[in-house]
Amino acid sequence: MSDLVLGIGDFGVSKDPSTSIKTYALGSCVAVILYCPTIQAAGMIHIALPESKVNPARAKEKPGFFADSGLPQLLSALTKIGGPIKGKGVRVKLVGGASIMDKNEIFNIGKRNLLAIKKILWAHGLGAVAEEVGGTISRTVSINVSNGEVKIFSAGRGNWTL
């Protein structure tokens, strides 16, 4: 099995059943993972921040860095490889959005990312069927394109399936 590895702000889609889409070390960043079982297609995006208005130039160069500029592009990319136009039947999973060990709201970017992502998903008629979000752990996540299985790894805590 080959890995399609996404960096921060990257997104990717695949219909190749021998591929796994993977992204490393989600801190407050969030991975939105899409799976379309009818055509065995998967997509993932590694979102760092909620709103592109803080750096429009960065959003132009790397739209996936922000929820508002990246998520519509991921949905569009999935449609281009045969996914449903309005996302009907797409399974959505969310992973990441952690925070530092403190109640300081200024530093809770993970929570802000999740709220922004859910708002955009709702606007597209989508919602998450499973989440592994929040807390204070860093997560690496992958999806197996052939069956949609989502696996999470955290150093010192091992692997588990979402």
Partner: protein
């Protein structure tokens, strides 16, 4: 720490090569609040290897000047002091900062990325200082803040699960305390011992010792130490971490005594840090030679 653990740490510290004399001189210049860029230029001119590397990097695809830069004066001005420090530290300490940290389940290269991101984040945070501060010194201290990890990693080998368990079972309040529980010492203390062995300037040594407990630093160095504390946390939040200890530290909210920024300004700090970090990482990693 038992005497055998103490001996192990001291032995490992003495195995690490000292940074070059010119790197040490550059760190001293950088720590002196009275210095100017010309001091940095004069030093680079004395070091042919640093001069060659600086000229290669300034003309690389990552920085792409409009016309080729052939003078060291212009190259240093174009890149800024922080990049010269980055180049010198990469040359001198790259070997130790690029090694895998088995004790943290962290692959080779992750510590260097974490340090570099922390450096840029600390520099961005410095822009929000209530009373102004030396942003380039915050960068340098950020770059060196975790030098204790490669040494402690050897004491923690195969212990990342035990360390995490100590945290999860409430036996330790954060990863620093968990490290101490498992190995008898924490990475910040080991880093401080290495800083003393290297004779690093006092403000940088303070940032290494207290980056997780900034309120314990002497008052004079607290703005710098808090900048590194925040830079370190921002790096972990942004996914640039060193394995099992990622996000397992406490934010000291007293940073608000020295810095003021909103949640939106924090997202700008993160975004601007990422923008500055990328070309620096590529060029320091030698991609300009491809």
């Amino acid at each position: 720490m038992t005497s055998s653990q103490e001996q192990f740490v001291q032995k490992e510290i003495q195995k690490i090569s000292l940074p070059s004399a010119n790197t040490m001189r550059l760190l001293e210049i950088n720590s002196n609040p009275e210095h100017c860029l010309q001091d940095v230029i004069d030093l680079v001119k004395l070091d042919s290897a640093l001069t060659a590397r600086t000229l290669r990097i300034v003309n690389s695809a990552a920085f792409c000047p409009l016309v080729p830069i052939n003078s060291i004066d212009r190259a240093v001005s174009y890149l800024g002091e922080k990049m010269i420090v980055g180049i010198a530290v990469t040359e001198s300490c790259g070997k130790i900062l690029n090694q895998p940290l088995e004790g943290y389940e962290s692959p080779a290269g992750d510590l260097w990325k974490h340090d570099l991101f922390t450096a840029f984040a600390a520099k961005e945070v410095a822009r929000y200082a209530k009373n102004g501060m030396e942003a380039d010194l915050a960068f340098t201290a950020g770059l060196l803040h975790d030098i204790g990890k490669p040494v402690l990693s050897k004491l923690l080998e195969n212990a990342s699960k035990t360390t995490i368990d100590a945290l999860d079972h409430g036996e330790a309040k954060d990863y620093l305390a968990a490290e101490k529980l498992v190995s008898g010492v924490e990475h910040a203390e080991v880093g401080y011992q290495l800083a003393k062995y290297w004779q690093l300037p006092a403000p940088i040594a303070a940032a290494i010792r207290f980056h997780h407990n900034p309120s314990e630093a002497i008052e004079e160095f607290q703005p710098l130490v808090y900048a590194v504390h925040l830079g370190d946390i921002i790096a972990m939040m942004s996914g640039y971490s060193t394995g099992s200890d990622s996000l397992q530290y406490t934010l000291d909210s007293h940073y608000e005594n020295f810095f003021t920024f909103s949640s939106n300004e924090l997202t700008k700090i993160i975004s601007d840090t990422e923008t500055a970090f990328r070309p620096a990482l590529e060029s320091l990693a030698g991609k300009e030679e491809n």
